[in-house]
Symmetry: C2
């Protein structure tokens, strides 16, 4: 099975310096989507990617996504989409891959040891640079897979559909509608048989994983108001009911120190643990020291890794983020704020329906506020919500990826979920109706979004092999 992989792997190894050089060129383009002044560079990066793929014979398009909402003088960077081979190979599976070519902001003065836009490889093979791991390395991985097949003279095993965006680090503006439209019958992505996204990370540094679940997020505001304007606490303290007092009392009832959500009914919405699931956590390559290292402290809730992983992946959590309208600067100000807005969010998991969560949240907060018998005014609202996502890890898309991992890394991957959200995942699942796989290239220490972001040379080169091997196995995997 997958007989051509050896020569593909050898070609990847033989071209590794060339592939690193390609990443170097990409990192050198500061495609920061959050910064207006860098919009030109974001587009430049999209065009670089398009031309690299076109030079390999892919059929590419740069699709405009319109004006940026709220900044209508700015054109959104295009969705760079494509197909390889340019002409569809009948009888082969079609795999839709997604990645993004924009990056987080970075300045040397933020604390980087090296120029963030100059790929710098150290003696341990750590390749530092903004976007190295998030997400230029994985995106160029697909380019390198195509080139390696051509150089090795191997047939490309699938039809590859590509969707690369330039606004992922700024809310994926404009992309959702585009995906939904292009997945309709007769449109660009209509014939996808499965989806693969390489934009997340291993749980640790040594063991690869396949990710099949993400938590959702429902974000709420609690606004409490009373006086017509901010008051001086000397003049009014003791004579007026203070919105901050009420808000603090309400927020304090939401969750306890050990993360237990106090809203009745929330845990009843959570899918019960099955016997099969119970065993899943023990073998995951994760230790409590991994947690403490990433926390920068030992202030974890649980002592066992199993409970910690369950808390991150399969249980809901509630975090209080802050208060808008109160005094938040350093120093001392004796204000009684007239209107304060508490912000919190709930990370949701199967089978929590967002609107059911909303109902429980609103009812509980209103009842807690009513208990105060306050003359102030409460308004509780949902700011936004994104649903959790869980795919079947038994689908051929996953079993193919697992075989690819074992071929490249000589180890069975961990099947993991994540605590955060990657909203595009759910969009692809819903728009295509097909299985979506998250297939990470980088490791937990890559510091995406932070200073000194890096991708290990090993993860990049073996990662190219992994993406290619995945396409070979996915081409041959029986339907399930």
């Amino acid at each position: 099975m997958a007989p051509n992989l050896d020569s593909f792997f050898q070609t990847v190894d033989a071209n590794s310096e060339h592939f690193i050089d390609r990443l170097r060129k990409a990192v050198a383009i500061p495609s920061i989507s959050a910064e207006e002044a860098r919009r030109e560079d974001v587009v430049k990066m999209g065009m670089f990617l398009k031309s690299q793929l076109e030079s390999l014979g892919a059929s590419m398009e740069a699709r405009p996504l319109g004006k940026q909402p709220g900044k209508e003088h700015l054109e959104l960077p295009p969705a760079v989409i494509g197909r390889y081979p340019a002409k569809k190979q009948e009888g082969k599976r079609t795999i839709l891959v997604y990645g993004h070519y924009d990056v987080q902001p970075a300045e040397k003065s933020d604390g980087w040891n090296t120029d963030p836009f100059e790929l710098t490889v150290d003696e341990k093979g750590r390749m530092y640079g903004r976007g190295s791991t998030d997400d230029k390395g994985p995106v160029l991985g697909w380019v390198n897979v195509i080139e390696s097949h051509q150089k090795a003279g191997i047939d490309f095993p699938v039809n590859l559909l590509m969707c690369f965006e330039g606004m992922e680090e700024y809310g994926s503006e404009g992309l959702d509608d585009f995906i939904v439209a292009e997945c309709k019958p007769g449109k660009y992505f209509a014939d996808a048989d499965a989806v693969c996204i390489s934009d997340n990370y291993w749980l640790g540094t040594e063991k690869p994983c396949l990710t099949y679940g993400l938590r959702g997020c429902s974000y709420y505001s609690i606004e409490i108001s009373g006086p017509g304007q901010d008051l001086h606490s000397g003049v009014f303290g003791g004579t007026a009911q203070e919105p901050m007092t009420d808000l603090t009392r309400v927020m304090a009832t939401l969750v306890d120190t050990n993360g237990r959500i106090q809203i009745p009914g929330i845990y009843e919405l959570v899918a019960p643990m099955t016997d099969e699931e119970k065993g899943l956590y023990t073998n995951i390559a994760f230790t409590m020291d991994n947690l403490y290292e990433s926390l920068g402290s030992k202030t974890g809730i649980f002592d066992q890794k199993e409970e910690t992983l369950m808390a991150r992946w399969r249980n809901p959590s509630l975090s209080l983020h802050g208060i808008e309208g109160a005094f938040s600067a350093p120093g001392a100000k004796t204000v009684i704020p007239a209107k304060v807005t508490g912000k919190f969010s709930i990370r949701t998991v199967p089978d929590m329906e967002p609107h059911e969560v909303d109902t429980l949240v609103f009812k509980y907060i209103k009842s807690q506020f009513a208990r105060l018998e306050s003359k102030n005014t409460l308004d509780v609202s949902l700011q936004h919500s994104g649903k959790w996502w869980v795919a079947s890890p038994n689908h051929w898309n996953f079993t193919a990826a697992a075989k690819a991992v074992e071929k490249v890394w000589k180890i069975k991957p961990d099947l993991t979920r994540e605590g955060g959200s990657i909203p595009v995942t759910l969009t692809f699942e819903q728009a295509t109706g097909k299985n979506v796989l998250l297939l990470p290239m980088g490791s937990s220490t890559d510091a995406a979004h932070s200073i000194n972001e890096k991708l290990d040379r090993r993860n990049y080169i073996e990662g190219i092999k992994l993406l290619g091997a995945y396409l070979h196995y996915v081409a041959e995997e029986p339907m399930k």
Copy 2:
């Protein structure tokens, strides 16, 4: 008694346009102490005041107060001090008066109806301009009193010592040490027999008052920290103990919706109500509508004015001001803040000793945090404290002022306290060891510190008479 007052009053009336013109010249100097670029104007205003008094024969000095702490390139505006008559009149009482010649910031664009630095008198005699009531009107009141005595050909009834500062609206930088030093034997203010400060307001708009008490203020920080850096709630929510959760739970235990402080022992420190005091509140010219108007809402705690006045003047209060380090901007951010600092203050009253309050606060907060059994770290600290002040309203300084009010306004003044602090009051009391009187000129609607600050023409002109009459009565009042 005080036989010369009629001719003094007539002279004030005859010169009222001249006095308004003096105020116009003062308001035209934008002596904003908070703005570095206006420092020259603050000094200019001090020199204007000094020259006005010198031209009337007062002995004046501009005393340097050194560099501004934290902005050492800036010289503090001088303390303008003086004596009138220049040569001490033996056998007459010496009254030390205080005021300030700096003002709050103001820009037309803040919402002023008129240029804030051009005194604008409307048809109802409202004189709009920054500093009109706070505190240029009262300060020039003393100048006008001297000039009116000269023009009326009346002996000046007391020795007047003057202390005018230019940093009151920016924390009275440098003044405390100066006052303490100059009140020592043989120094400038050594022979003061009593102190009079005109820098506050009537409780309403129709009835004058004498103010004999102020609450103190103790300002605290509760810092709770855990993780080494801010965390993403998707990745860490449910696995780490969150400082915001703990802080909110601790802050929620400090005070209830009706302003009742929950810290055991606090109310035991408060001086008990005497039978004499009980009757004081009923006759004060204050209504619940006054409260609702100033609140801009009906969210008061008490339904009766007596309880409201007691809550403002003679009972402690606790206000939660805000949280530093949490998410405080508009919008939605899914951060778990690593370190958050809650700010609150307690307004203190007789007989609460600040260090006893500190002890109770620290003990209670530590015990409430301990109940959470959290792995996070608590640090509670005092940011600053200023003690309450209460003078005896039976002292000759007050009885003289009461007679002056009755003479000028044909009504007995309310004896009031205030909920806020004027720290220099306590400084003068402690440094001189003498009685301090707060003798307001303006009314509750003057909007000091706000847009459209004004002083009513009536309050200014009658206020000049009041200050002069006070000096006459205070000269004759028997010792008590």
